[in-house]
């Protein structure tokens, strides 16, 4: 288990608990009472810490190295039975953006999302979940296919941003994202977007136009990462905590500002603490929205989607 800097009390309690269990097993001394007591303490501590996370701490949880990524969600919601589809039919297959077809409790779905690597080698291959233009174009190809067969779309968003590389620029990173925004307002099947980790800027929005946009409890969504914001506005990397606070990037803030449609609960301590529980929460949420969205008339669906986004933001006219 990797502990974050604010989890040191939890780490201490869990280490003690582990020791107590080991002692009990090895020596046969009855440690049960002490274990129960410690477990209670641990639960209280976790509740205390996790009910008061700062914006920056939530950013840290969203990036926890053991946090589940897109493919893990796809596996769970389809019962490990989905077919991955590759390539944009033009340049390449982007490993930072995955997609495929499956069924969730009998509902056919097209699933798309950024995928981070699960080890050092895969992190490089998947470019830390930063997609190239061909990733966004692959996503669009799959969305159009879904539309053709009247299959709803689920996108899983988890990216520190679109890849800022030389070739990405040559192949039109801006155009690729812009095209997706435009086309996602015309795709005549239900779209549910779920932020499962990091929702950074245009790279996240590029697959983020949906009838329901939902955020897991410990994720963030913003125009820029707190670090980059700090470096630009404060001209130093040292103000990331302040930047995270100022950007109002947590799920609670996003819901309050009417920029998302809902928040999905996570297990206590974050999705990595009990992955199956987290997957189950996500699956339940998808199944909660899907039937109603599928019943909606196609033109109405598009109209509502456009109106929702067209109303975002506040201004004055005095």
């Amino acid at each position: 288990m990797v502990y974050l800097d604010f989890e040191s009390d939890i780490e201490q309690l869990e280490t003690e608990l582990q020791k107590l269990r080991e002692v009990g097993e090895k020596t046969g001394i009855d440690t049960n009472a002490a274990i129960v007591d410690l477990e209670k303490q641990l639960l209280e501590k976790k509740k205390e810490i996790y009910s008061h996370l700062s914006a920056w701490q939530k950013v840290q949880v969203s990036r926890h190295p053991e946090r589940p990524y897109t493919i893990a969600y796809m596996d769970y919601v389809t019962g490990n039975n989905w077919i991955e589809l590759h390539g944009d039919r033009n340049v390449a297959d982007d490993k930072a953006m995955v997609g495929g077809l499956g069924q969730i409790e009998g509902h056919s779905v097209m699933m798309i999302g950024q995928q981070k690597g699960i080890n050092t080698k895969m992190r490089q291959i998947r470019r830390f979940g930063m997609a190239n233009p061909e990733g966004y174009r692959k996503a669009l190809r799959l969305m159009r296919m879904a539309e053709k067969f009247n299959i709803p779309i689920i996108t899983f968003i988890d990216t520190p941003g679109a890849y800022p590389g030389l070739e990405a620029e040559e192949r039109g990173q801006g155009e690729a994202i812009a095209r997706n925004l435009f086309e996602m307002f015309r795709i005549k099947v239900p779209i549910i977007c779920i932020i499962i980790g990091e929702g950074a800027s245009g790279g996240a929005l590029g697959i983020g136009i949906g009838d329901k946009v939902l955020m897991l409890e410990n994720t963030w969504y913003s125009v820029i990462s707190p670090e980059s914001c700090s470096s630009i506005l404060w001209r130093s990397w040292d103000h990331k905590e302040k930047a995270a606070e100022a950007l109002k990037l947590t799920a609670d803030d996003m819901l309050k500002n009417k920029l998302i449609d809902g928040i999905i609960k996570e297990p206590l301590g974050g999705a990595h603490r009990d992955m199956n529980q987290a997957f189950e929460f996500v699956k339940k949420e998808i199944l909660k929205h899907l039937p109603a969205l599928k019943k909606e008339k196609k033109d109405k669906l598009i109209q509502k989607r456009i109106e929702k986004f067209a109303q975002m933001g506040v201004y004055t006219e005095k």
């Binding site: 155009e175 812009a178 307002f185 986004f309 933001g313 006219e317």
Partner: protein, 284 residues
């Protein structure tokens, strides 16, 4: 030694210094050629010697484009609200006030409606002088309303982009303007009305990743910086120097993301020609 300095340093006092009177002359930052300001203006703020396109604002573009310089501003009163009470080294509310005072503008986007060569056109033009032409809620809302106006009155739309990207101080509100403007552009497309996008120096970030790249016709002024990630970020990513001309208009044309590059003096006639062609009788 054939040359010997007899006096140390500059001895002319500041008051004696001969300066070019301000406002009368224009010195090109590129080729250093000096031209009378009046000629420079007549040349659409383009250097007569080397073709350098000076960065200009909405008032200048409206002057260049609209017949007899006549146009009507739309939604002039729209102003930003600091809903997030954003503070970095300075409060955003203060930055807004300063920018409004310094530029005389309410935000980084002005909408003008008028005629070019007799043809109706709505022009949304960004002002770089207003917080780096950053895209906040007002920029998005102005485009949104301009599109409503176009659809209602069956007019073509031109957006002139000049922006460093999304306005950080409006965080996700500004991010969602990318979605908002794209959403509204689908309605303009449904109505069969032409959308021209002109990228000028610079057009980067969230603006490039939304309306700037979505034109029926994407065009750019010569040598404008156009990209998603800024050149500094790309350089950091790849760890080597960038090739010459990278992310410039000519580069984008070569890579297939622009229909053409247009000199400022030809902008109006090119637009009028395209509108005329687009408006030709519909195929039944």
């Amino acid at each position: 030694m054939w040359f010997k300095r007899t006096k140390e340093g500059i001895t002319t006092s500041t008051s004696e210094k001969k300066e070019t009177p301000e406002g009368l002359w224009y010195k090109c930052p590129d080729c250093k050629e000096i031209t009378p300001a009046e000629d420079h203006e007549k040349n659409n703020w383009v250097c007569n010697a080397c073709g350098y396109h000076e960065r200009i604002g909405s008032a200048e573009y409206f002057h260049i484009l609209f017949d007899e310089g006549k146009y009507k501003l739309l939604d002039e009163k729209l102003k930003a609200i600091d809903a997030l009470q954003f503070t970095d080294t300075k409060p955003y509310a203060g930055r807004l006030k300063d920018a409004q005072q310094n530029t005389g503008l309410n935000d980084a986007m002005q909408t003008g409606t008028g005629r070019i060569e007799g043809l109706p056109l709505v022009v949304c033009c960004m002002d770089f002088s207003f917080i780096g032409g950053s895209m906040g809620v007002v920029v998005g809302e102005k485009i949104s309303r301009a599109i409503d106006h176009c659809i209602k009155n069956k007019k073509a739309l031109l957006i002139i982009s000049k922006s460093g990207g999304a306005r950080m101080m409006e965080s996700a509100f500004s991010l969602m303007q990318m979605a908002k403007t794209s959403a509204k552009l689908t309605l303009l497309a449904e109505a069969g009305l032409p959308y021209f996008s002109l990228c000028t120096d610079p057009t980067t970030g969230g603006v490039t990743a939304s309306y700037a790249m979505l034109g029926d016709i994407n065009m750019a002024e010569p040598n404008a910086l156009i990209g998603f990630a800024g050149p500094r970020v790309v350089k950091e990513t790849i760890g080597t120097d960038l090739p010459a001309g990278f992310q410039r208009s000519e580069f984008l044309l070569e890579k297939g993301f622009l229909d053409f590059i247009v000199h400022r003096k030809e902008l109006k006639s090119r637009l009028a020609k395209l509108i005329t062609i687009f408006n030709n009788e519909k195929v039944k």
